[in-house]
């Protein structure tokens, strides 16, 4: 990082030039400068990005902006890093790319944020307006391409509208059900001058998220809860997003109602709590799935009845009335019939409920579930080789369940959900809805930038990690000590598992030839540790935790271990493979 010194000198020199220029042109700023000023005024500190032709005016303005820009090695990495940053901190993640291929490389990251309701603002350069629609060099209709995967998008036509656009974009991204908003910025808009006036009012007649629920619906929900003898709370990512974890804990304890989580809900309820049932659904715990199948009241809180949770909707919670609490009215009744819809911010609704609820009468039911927890724990068979589950357990033990964990997508992700005990919201950061392989490493970078003093682990598979492995260089570049734990089985493990169960063990294109991850880590300037035997496990993790560098741990694990239990796709929750 010697270049920093020279860069600083250059910067101060350039600053002088800039000052002189400003004196001549009064309060006129370029579109790019207005963009950055507006972002700063909205509280944005960090941008993840990658430069290119049509984004040059923005990058020029970044040169002397106080915004912290993290140069990723691929635009997809920038999008996922912004996503990870947003999930860890609750603040909007901002990513920046150039037009055409830069913008299309963001698409997976935007879709990922959309599916998991992550507040994100994606800014793309665009060809000048005079060249729009002419198939110009590096032109892509990115607002068109991202129409179905953004909460909203803007193609800015006039520099004077930019401040207002940025304010609205951040407001839309972060309020209601959060989601990604795209701002497409033609080069002439980012380079022409206008007066900067901080936008004060929002002009969004069509955007009015409902935060406070209808008291009548809350009353009705409370009545159903009080009558229930076998309630189960099914808590999703909405609990984490709205910060409703304390209210949820109080309600669960008041009612003695067990709580199962969706993948994104993990951490929203303490995993070590006696009432915690862990994850529900396809790879849910047996006791969570039994509880859903036998409950008389299902209280869905900030969850959206994904097919990976419900299995066959006809046999889902067959004996239960369903209360659905969600901020997004369109989720009510989308996948399953709902008896009592409550539309509002989860935290507020749970608060409203707490005022009227009385202690529950679910003691017998709770005891039954506690017995199930004892009878059907998550298990795996210990052998004299490295078991992936044992690795997660050891990481959990050494980090005391307090690390920020990101994952890629596949078997390792499910094992993490099973064997890492998440006790705090925003500690588990994973691609749920879209299931994006290659998410975990860039997300871990975003998390580490957002939470510089915390321990960050990306738990990965040998397949997934290679989808955005270039971001290891970003971690080294910015001295972000993320730890990557690769559960290396030489397979696309989840694909292989499905081929074993449902395709007659025909392992079509799921076996992988991998690079030497240790050498690769070292080539990037990170540390590499290979672990082959159970005895090496604990010291290796300790070494990684104590290292100030990014560390890549290559765990050579039992090759054909499966994620169990498993509900076959479209099956009933209480009929699990084991």
């Amino acid at each position: 990082m010697q270049s920093n010194v020279t860069k600083k000198v250059l910067r101060s020199r350039k600053g002088n030039v800039r000052k002189r220029k400003k004196e001549t042109s009064e309060a006129q700023l370029s579109g790019a400068e207005i963009l950055l000023r507006s972002l700063v005024d909205e509280g944005v500190e960090t941008i993840f990005g990658y430069p290119g032709g049509q984004a040059l005016p923005i990058y020029d303005a970044l040169y002397d902006s106080k915004i912290n820009h993290i140069l990723c090695r691929h635009e997809q990495g920038a999008a996922h890093a912004a996503d990870g940053y947003a999930r860890a901190t609750g603040r909007p993640g901002v990513c920046l790319a150039t037009s055409g291929p830069g913008a299309t490389n963001l698409v997976t990251g935007i879709a990922n944020a959309f599916m998991d309701s992550v507040p994100m603002v994606a800014i793309t350069g665009q060809v000048p307006q005079s060249l729009l629609g002419r198939d110009s060099f590096q032109e892509a209709d990115i607002t068109g391409i991202t129409l179905p995967i953004t909460k909203h998008s803007y193609l800015v036509r006039d520099t004077s509208e930019l401040a207002q656009t940025v304010k609205e974009a951040i407001y839309i991204a972060t309020t209601g059900r959060p989601g990604p908003v795209l701002i497409d910025l033609p080069k002439d808009v980012s380079s022409s001058l206008a007066e900067y006036r901080r936008a004060d009012k929002m002009n969004l007649p069509g955007y009015r998220p409902v935060l406070d629920a209808d008291p009548v619906q809350v009353q009705e929900a409370a009545r159903a809860i009080i009558q229930s003898r076998r309630p189960v709370i099914y808590a999703g990512g909405g609990v984490v997003i709205s910060g409703a974890h304390e209210e949820l804990l109080r309600i669960a304890e008041l009612l003695m109602a067990p709580v199962c989580n969706t993948l994104l809900g993990l951490g929203g309820f303490p995993g070590d709590h006696p009432l915690s049932l862990g994850m529900v659904g396809m790879h849910g715990t047996k006791y969570a799935n039994f509880a859903i199948s036998e409950c008389d009241l299902l209280i869905a809180v900030g969850a959206r009845f994904d097919d990976r949770v419900t299995g066959n909707v006809e046999t889902f919670a067959p004996e239960a009335r369903i209360i659905h609490i969600d901020i997004d009215p369109a989720e009510i009744g989308k996948n399953v019939r709902v008896d009592i819809p409550v539309v509002g911010d989860v935290k507020r609704v749970l608060g409203q409920l707490l005022e009227i609820l009385k202690p529950g009468l679910a003691e017998a039911w709770r005891d039954k579930i506690l017995a199930w927890k004892k009878e059907y724990p998550l298990t795996y068979c210990e052998k004299d080789c490295l078991k992936p589950q044992a690795i997660i357990r050891e990481i959990c033990r050494q980090t005391e369940g307090k690390a920020r964990i990101t994952t890629e997508v596949g078997q390792h992700q499910m094992w993490t959900a099973h064997y890492y005990t998440f006790t705090k919201p925003r500690s588990f950061i994973t691609s749920g809805g879209l299931g994006t392989m290659g998410y975990g490493l860039p997300a871990a970078i975003g998390v580490q930038v957002g939470c510089p003093d915390e321990l960050v682990f990306d738990i990965a598979g040998d397949g997934s990690i290679q989808m955005n492995i270039q971001e290891l260089c970003t971690a080294v570049n910015y001295e972000l000590p993320v730890n990557v734990a690769i559960l290396n089985n030489g397979y696309l493990g989840m694909v292989r598992q499905w081929q074993e169960f449902f395709y007659n063990r025909r392992y079509s294109h799921s076996e992988l030839l991998n690079p030497d991850f240790i050498k690769l880590a070292e080539a990037y300037g990170a540390e590499g540790i290979r672990v082959k035997r159970p005895a090496e496990l604990a010291p290796a993790i300790e070494q990684a935790i104590n290292s100030s560098k990014p560390v890549m741990l290559d765990f050579i694990v039992d090759r054909e271990e499966n994620v169990l239990p498993m509900v076959p796709p479209g099956g009933a929750l209480n009929k699990m493979l084991e």
Partner: protein
């Protein structure tokens, strides 16, 4: 069942693509869609005729509401309303048949807007039933070309669907 929705949207570029894209990706069927400015130049009104059961309509309504540009949705089908469609029909008309065609035009209160050596172009407005009947009666002469605007509709009486009121779920039930 067919529903006629009046959707007030901000007159922003791309708003039609947002609405149309939503219908196609969520698998909702549009029967017709007509769009134009309202008395307020910043607001456009889309009249969408959509086919579906109550559950589908509820989803259509809720998903449309999620679009930031959508200000208000009303299901006119629940109220008394008038609807109209404008149709232009170019029909083969030999001199010997013209009188008969013009009689039909009179009966349906249509108008002839262009006369060619072998064709007549007729404009007719009305509700779907009337237009269908008119089309049927001209078929025997041979229809060369037909173009329909799609339905536009308005509530009867003093009520309007243009006024902004706060979003409430029950607009379609």
């Amino acid at each position: 069942m067919k529903h006629t929705l009046s959707v007030m949207v901000e007159n922003n570029p791309g708003v039609l693509a947002r609405v149309a894209g939503l219908f196609s990706r969520r698998g909702f069927n549009i029967d017709s869609l007509a769009v134009g400015r309202t008395e307020n130049p910043r607001v456009s009104r889309m009249t969408i005729v959509v086919e579906g059961d109550d559950t589908t309509l509820e989803q259509v309504n809720k998903q449309l509401h999620k679009l930031v540009d959508v200000i208000k949705i009303s299901d006119l089908t629940k109220d008394a309303y008038v609807d109209r469609e404008l149709v232009m029909i170019k029909v083969f008309a030999e001199p010997s048949e013209r009188a008969e065609i013009m009689q039909l035009v009179d009966i349906f209160r249509a108008r002839i807007v262009d006369v060619g050596p072998k064709t007549l172009t007729i404009e007719v407005t009305g509700n779907e039933g009337k237009i269908d009947a008119f089309e049927l009666s001209l078929r025997s002469f041979g229809i060369k070309e037909l173009v329909r605007t799609g339905k536009i509709a308005m509530l009867r009486g003093y009520k309007t669907s243009t006024k902004n009121n706060n979003y409430k779920e029950e607009e379609v039930s």
